[in-house]
Symmetry: C2
Subunit: 357 residues, 2 copies
């Protein structure tokens, strides 16, 4: 690092290195890009020394400007506060690292407006591609990006009218697996709790799978069997009053159930947490004697209080998303693909335990 006027440090440039090594920029550039076979070992050594002496680091921005690729990929997430997101992020980072990419992480904090802004900001930095796990980006926001523009890969949720690679949980199988478990355990009163699901594909699929499983179970039981109760319950976490109302509905449900232990199947981690917090606040630390909670998304607290979960392969999802994106960046032109990764059922006390225990 050299010192410029006024004692302010200035980073060395490729020209500085060339001068220091007594050569031209071209050779230095060649050295940097590993075209080592075209360089005499003498020159190579001089360049190497000069670089070390000046503590030179090539400027990625300038490099990107010239080459048209700066190795930046954008990662837009709806909510970094959600452990699911963090898991995906870890996978994304690992894959980026392995592929020589640099992730630019943006958290929209559940604000649709933020999502749009960040997406714009990213294109401004000329990211080579984007990975999107968003709440409400619309097809039009991504369109210029999706077709011939910046490649995009969707995570967890597809966007209506946009055909892009997408990777996420195999929702249908995950919910079916959960329901199979619940029914095997003999639960006959099951509520499926989910955030408003019209506009988010993964939620929609999960809810549909829940109803499908329910109907199938009905059919199997036949006429004479004991009735099977099942219902979808919408929990809008973005609206405190709506949450309160839904919590009250839960209370009424438990009241009706009398002493009978009912099951709640949460469509994701945040929903499960909201439910658990309410139940704990309302019925004390022994609330699990009244309701069996089960959730898509595993978490620290699920293990801590013994709640059954369907663990999502978040790391793999993030990793795969980057792999997809990388292929597109390198010019892949296959039609849009979909990777649906399997969830893993982690059975804990909440559902293993029957009333008679």
């Amino acid at each position: 690092m050299s010192i410029g006027p006024m004692g302010i440090a200035r980073r060395a440039t490729i020209s500085d290195v060339a001068r220091e090594a007594g050569t031209g920029k071209t050779s230095v550039s060649r050295y940097l890009n590993g075209e080592t076979n075209v360089l005499s070992s003498d020159l190579r050594a001089r360049i190497e020394a000069a670089i070390k002496r000046l503590d030179y680091r090539p400027n990625q921005m300038a490099r990107g400007l010239k080459r048209g690729r700066n190795r930046l990929v954008g990662l837009l997430v709806a909510d970094i506060t959600n452990p699911y997101t963090v898991g995906v992020l870890r996978g994304v980072e690992a894959a980026c690292h392995a592929l020589g990419l640099m992730p630019l992480v943006c958290n929209a904090a559940n604000e649709v407006e933020m999502e749009r802004r960040y997406l714009q900001l990213m294109t401004t930095y000329r990211v080579e591609g984007v990975i999107v796990n968003a709440l409400g980006v619309e097809e039009e926001t991504l369109r210029p990006v999706g077709e011939g523009g910046t490649p995009a890969v969707l995570v967890d949720r597809s966007i209506e009218g946009l055909s892009a690679d997408m990777v996420g949980l195999d929702n249908g199988e995950a919910v079916a697996m959960g329901m199979r478990h619940l029914l095997e355990q003999g639960f006959d009163d099951i509520r499926f709790a989910v955030q408003p699901y019209e506009s988010v594909s993964s939620r929609r699929l999960r809810e549909a799978a829940f109803r499908a499983a329910l109907e199938q179970a009905h059919a199997l039981r036949g006429a004479g069997a004991e009735p099977l109760r099942g219902e979808t319950m919408v929990l809008d976490l973005s609206d405190a009053e709506a949450v309160a109302r839904t919590h009250e509905a839960v209370d009424r449900h438990l009241q009706e159930a009398g002493g009978r232990r009912v099951a709640y199947f949460a469509a994701n981690g945040p929903v499960a947490l909201s439910l658990a917090l309410h139940l704990h606040a309302r019925y004390g630390s022994r609330w699990q004697e009244r309701v069996a909670l089960m959730s898509i998304d595993d978490s620290e607290w699920a293990e801590l209080i013994g709640v059954t979960a369907i663990r999502q392969p978040t790391y793999a999802i993030g990793y795969r998303a980057v792999e997809f994106l990388h292929e597109r960046i390198e010019g892949g032109v296959e039609p849009a693909r979909e990777a649906m990764l399997a969830g893993e059922l982690v059975v804990r006390r909440s559902t293993a335990w029957r009333e008679e225990d």
Copy 2:
């Protein structure tokens, strides 16, 4: 967006806009930079229209190259998996947004080697400053960066020999507050659980504050009083075997304590979680009848099972860090500052509840 050869989309450049608007690049640049007073309203309108028509977005990289500042700031975190980190991240993002900066988030996943690599990578992208919450970066890695080089702000922990702005929890007061509470509640057997603390300033300060509080309490009690037991217990989360050994030590401690309820004061969230998981696995869901857990760092699960916590103002910490950094970026030259933000005690059942309840 215009279409280049082979149908491949190419983003419009400033030259395209100039041509489309029938003017020169200079005027377009002026328009972009808000030097609107120097432009005739006619020209201004034409440029505006051209920009809209071409969906033009200035290239930040090129801009940065020319201006020498690209509005990128690096955020290096030790572990994105830690909720503390996520809290800080949110504050950082909000502040960056407010100040027109773009955070480049790097997660070192608890690997010291990664930290070094990412720090290098960031300088390669010519970030204007860095915010560092790292495990083991050494002073030398940051030195060129800290002095006259890229400004740096430290979060949660200082680095030996490096004088840089730093922001974090007021550790002394936080621990003192926690100890005051524990003693008031009548606990007389208190273990302070902390990760290896020699090399991480915040841990060291917390441990020291624990011992100080203990001694003070001893002094206050005088000779005739019942004995007060207190001990520091190191829990090395990076080493599974060490963790197991420490967990066993916990078991022995509980055994010795007989039926008496003892207190565990965890120096941070991950430590508290490790303890809670062990206790739950070992003593079942009613483990809190044997030990009162309290922790620096609040979390979802702490509320869910009623564990007392000292909440860190993570959002404010992140926000403040960016403010500090911004001042440096703008050329501030004050000596290194330190912001110690106050924690908040959140009392829950774990400590409010006495044995006789």
